[in-house]
Subunit: 245 residues, 2 copies
């Protein structure tokens, strides 16, 4: 399937019929419009963009007027917020199957910076298109699917507080590794953030992030594959989490 850089959409006649694309899409069952039948998909023909972003590319910034919602087809993105004191804080991660930028459906500006952590494949859904489906009998199931995604994001945010922002650095890091592992590619290779970014996720300094990670590496919980990738030993990770001290 063609990969289209975020700033340039391929010409319409170069792209396959949307119905074929969405039907073949490997995240269809999990994705927002997976519930649509093929007839509905035909109506969306050529109106869904499929942008691709390299790692560290900004998808949108907090305050931008949102024109599109996105579904993540592959890769990992992060949501950042800058505190009043000027420090940045990562408040959430999104992976395959997640819906992002929902604020746009409400004519609100985006609430956070959204940045690609790894190369990312997206589906771009113009808000006008989604709104149109609301009145359409064939699209009547969309709102429920939408609610479900919204609630999923909310659950995630609450878990972020309870797991990644609670307790000593070592435990926070363990929870983060578990999440990153859950977002890993099929071969089990997971994205490993820069130390300074780990710090922004856990609210610790990059030195503490480095020390804690080195500890877990020596304990065999993680093995570094290359500078930006790792492999997680789930058994050891769970064991480390269940130790009390």
């Amino acid at each position: 399937m063609d990969r289209i850089p975020i700033t340039a959409e391929a010409p319409a006649d170069a792209r396959p019929w949307q119905a074929a694309v969405c039907t073949a899409c490997e995240v269809r069952r999990e994705a927002l419009f997976g519930v649509l039948d093929e007839h509905a998909l035909d109506r969306l023909h050529q109106r869904i963009g499929q942008p691709w972003l390299p790692a560290d590319r900004v998808l949108y910034r907090a305050g931008d007027a949102g024109a599109s919602v996105y579904t993540v087809r592959a890769g990992v993105l992060r949501f950042e917020r800058v505190t009043a004191q000027g420090e940045r804080r990562v408040v959430r991660l999104a992976g395959r199957g997640d819906l992002i930028g929902q604020e746009a459906l409400l004519q609100r500006p985006y609430g956070d910076d959204a940045i690609a952590c790894t190369p990312v494949d997206l589906c771009r859904l113009p808000v006008a298109l989604v709104d149109g489906l609301h009145d359409d009998p064939g699209g009547s199931r969309v709102p429920r699917e939408l609610m479900s995604r919204w609630q999923g994001a909310l659950d995630d945010a609450a878990a972020w507080v309870a797991e990644l922002s609670t307790g000593p650095a070592r435990r926070r890091l363990l929870h983060l590794l578990r999440r990153l592992d859950a977002l890993a590619d099929p071969q089990g290779l997971a994205w490993l953030p820069r130390r300074e970014l780990i710090g922004a996720m856990l609210d610790v300094t990059l030195e503490t992030a480095s020390r804690s990670l080195s500890d877990l590496r020596r304990a065999g919980v993680v093995t570094l594959h290359d500078r930006r990738h790792m492999r997680v030993d789930r058994a050891r990770l769970e064991q480390a989490l269940h130790e009390q001290p």
Copy 2:
């Protein structure tokens, strides 16, 4: 207006017509069904409960099968989660106008414990009733209002991470006081949690919470009214937040 304990609903014939109640409701404009016209309200006659909870009463527990969504008419509730290590962590607060327990709309169990912090007035909306409105032309605006509330909760959760779970204890407490002040009653009297609860909100010990609060008291940022209530000096609070050290 009658106050009905959570465990007992008043007999139907003792309650006024729902349309009159909702029309007169002081949170109508902000509340979920504020967008309904009087005709639609008549249809809901006698089907919306108006329970009242004393402080510290549990509204529901995580895992309960959710049969109702609630709108907060007055008071403050908190959402708690127990971590795998057995510590409780407050992950969100809800106040006047907020919608809570939305998971129930998706036939999901509630995700957190919901507990009254102060005496609380609610509107209880059985899920079956809300679902019925989806097909109803008169209720067609409900989904958008729902989305808006869902997104509001999500924003809140992200801000909780960025403000209440980031930086030194003093700054976290300042952000918490600002929030509690925003939930204060019309006279400016705000709820003051127990120190151990402040700790569960900020992920600090009760001693640190006590010490930090005492500092702010001595600095004139807060004045304690009684054991469970305070008054916040907003100017000094903002000033304290804008100091760099």
